[in-house]
């Protein structure tokens, strides 16, 4: 009996040893949805950002029984919490991070370069799209696994566009190719439908202004951050963009006074022809268009923001990546497990692309499953035309807020365009000078 007990104990210990758990602490936004997806490992059955990332992690754990991924969710974007953790030397192993804030951490040497880790897993940097790779590369090194690209798009109510005669024989929307044409289309649209051409987020909003500003600056080939330590907004290109944004509002070519939620619902209920919003809404609007009896029924499509300025077709794009905070004391086992997780996430980038975000892995664009997703062929070009700000620019989230506040003042007539540009420039340069 004693021998039996000893044998069973030894067997248990051996089994436990063989399955010794390595724990990765992963911190992310995208919300928590344990009630719906807590046990789901079939990723293809999951929908939405929260559902898909939860199922992905569950599936990874199921495939790697020796690795436990301890997930902590944070309120979007979670950087206050991360900063506090870094300050108290208590940061997680893997953290979700926008490409636009990576510089804030790399400039303080707080992130691990991932080139070697990715190479060990057989992930070649050439496998990523240009836009995604540019987003995570700082000083020639990769500081996050790129997971997607997102950008502002033109979500089109094709029922209203057709009513306005802005659809060609093939059924494709006729979009403007310069700012003059934009206003001609807007006038035509309003005359035919009695509704504004655009549904924009113009209240309680800063991000949308900044993203549109960057897009139209890029289209003019102008870089307001040619020197990454200061912004130059006293240029003809910057003035042209803000005057264009103001004219859209002044001429009634847009809904006004809508915040984010109102603009999302407003486009869905047919209050205008074109919803200017992000990639993440494609799934919701597509689902709505497949139902009967609503403003988008059988009449929704989506395109990148058209080239309205002459120099180049470009759009401002950001993205989500997975960064690894620097921790000299991290065990090799944990580092290896992080590498496996990165490889898994890259391998399953298509699943994430079902959210509406554009894939970071270039080969996903060639997948039949991806191409069969609604509207993705229309927006695939963003993988080439998408550009981020100069990666050396710090505090991009704060800069975005300043630009949004000042341009909002200009668009609503509280400041002249020149005053708004000057105020934005002074505030941003004060911010950057005091880092």
């Amino acid at each position: 009996m004693k021998r039996l007990l000893l044998a069973s104990t030894a067997a248990t210990l051996f089994a436990t040893g063989a399955q010794a758990q390595t724990t990765i602490e992963l911190q992310r936004f995208f919300g928590a949805c344990d009630a719906d997806y807590g046990d789901v490992t079939d990723v293809s059955s999951a929908v939405g950002e929260c559902g898909i990332i939860t199922a992905l992690i569950n599936d990874f754990e199921a495939q790697n029984e020796d690795i436990d991924v301890e997930v902590t969710t944070v309120e979007w974007p979670g950087y206050d919490q991360l900063n506090a953790q870094l300050a108290s030397r208590n940061a997680p192993d893997v953290v979700s991070m926008h490409y636009s804030v990576i510089s804030d951490y790399t400039s303080r040497n707080l992130l691990e370069p991932l080139d070697d880790l990715l190479a060990e897993q057989g992930i070649e940097t050439s496998s990523f799209t240009d836009a995604a790779l540019a987003g995570v590369t700082k000083d020639g090194q990769i500081y996050a696994l790129p997971f997607d690209n997102w950008t502002m798009l033109w979500h089109l109510n094709m029922n209203l566009m057709e009513e306005a005669g802005l659809v060609d024989d093939s059924g494709a929307p006729i979009l403007p190719s310069n700012t003059d044409e934009f206003f001609e289309h807007a006038a035509t649209f309003e005359e035919a439908t009695g509704k504004p051409y655009l549904v924009q987020i113009l209240a309680n909003e800063t991000a949308a202004y900044a993203r549109l500003f960057y897009t139209f600056m890029l289209q003019q080939g102008a870089d307001p951050f040619s020197d990454p330590t200061q912004i130059d907004l006293m240029t003809p290109e910057a003035k042209a963009v803000v005057e264009f944004l103001k004219k859209i509002s002044d001429e009634g070519a847009t809904t006004t006074d809508m915040d984010y939620a109102a603009a999302v619902a407003g486009f869905g209920s047919g209050e205008g022809g074109i919803g200017v919003n992000g990639t993440w809404l494609i799934g919701d609007y597509t689902a709505q268009s497949e139902e009967e009896g609503n403003a988008l029924s059988d009449g929704y499509t989506v395109y990148p923001i058209p080239q309205l300025f002459a120099t180049q077709d470009a759009t401002y794009a950001d993205g989500h990546g997975w960064a690894v905070p620097r921790n000299p004391g991290r065990d090799d086992d944990v580092t290896a497990a992080i590498g496996k997780l990165m490889a898994y996430l890259a391998e399953n980038d298509f699943q994430w692309a079902r959210t509406g975000h554009l894939p970071a892995v270039a080969s996903v664009f060639e997948m039949d499953e991806f191409q069969s997703l609604p509207h993705r062929d229309n927006i695939a070009e963003v993988a080439q035309t998408g550009q981020s700000l100069n990666p050396q620019v710090l505090r991009q989230f704060s800069i975005q807020d300043i630009i949004g506040e000042e341009f909002n003042s200009a668009v609503h007539g509280d400041k002249t365009v020149d005053e708004a540009l000057e105020a934005a420039q002074n505030r941003i340069n004060d911010l950057l000078a005091n880092l």
Partner: protein, 279 residues
Amino acid sequence: MSAAAPISRDQGRILFWLAVVLSVLMLAPMAWVLLLSFTENEALSRGTEAAFGGHFTLKNYSDIAGNSGVFRWFLNSLIVAVGQTSGVLIMSSLAGYAFARLEWPGRKVIFVIVLFGLAVPEQAVIIPRHQIFTTLNLHNTYIGLMLPGMSLPFGVFLMTQFFRAIPSEIDEAALLDNASRFRIFWKVLLPLTLPAQATLGIFTFLMAWNDYWWPLISGTDKEMYTLTIGIASSQVNFAQTEGLGFLAAQAVFAAIPVLIVYIIFQRHVVTAVSGGAVK
């Protein structure tokens, strides 16, 4: 000062209807949040008028209950709020008594220094405080979450004023009966301060329960999340459109303990708001 003249019947009627209108205005946002919390998220994403369209659901609440961490966060909030409230009551009472009743060198200067604390915003001290707590290894502990809120200059001020308002003859009578200072404090004066204690306790509890910033940067381990942090962390990125019903259900869920505290201590809250606590 002469007594106020009694209000006429017409004035009373006007005041009554004014109160009704104000009550409706105050309750309307709460009723709206309650209604949203029982409405499907998908329907709400297409327009909040869906709340009146029969898209009734309990899923928003079941999603809260289905989150494995929510009861832990609830417990954490309760521990932090009760602990912080207890600490504030004990320290404010002792300090208030010392400032109001005892003669000791530097009393006035130190009282003024304590009052200066009222003028120092949390933003001004949060970074050094965070660093001190890092050095002391207090982050992600209950004591770390409670300690900052325990230094409440307002509490000291309130209790000092309340002790000062109690006639000194009471102490003198007790001293004549050979009662010790602590006995006078504990048996004679402290019971007289119960209205102020209740007021201070309620405000401290509510403040601790609703606190967001310090728990966000100190209790970063999900096991140490308070309810405010936990429910915020479980929101999807565009909760205001994609999860409005869930957002409203979270607000209702988080408000329930506060409502219970309010209902139990309603009389004292009203007294506090009307200024009756400091006589």
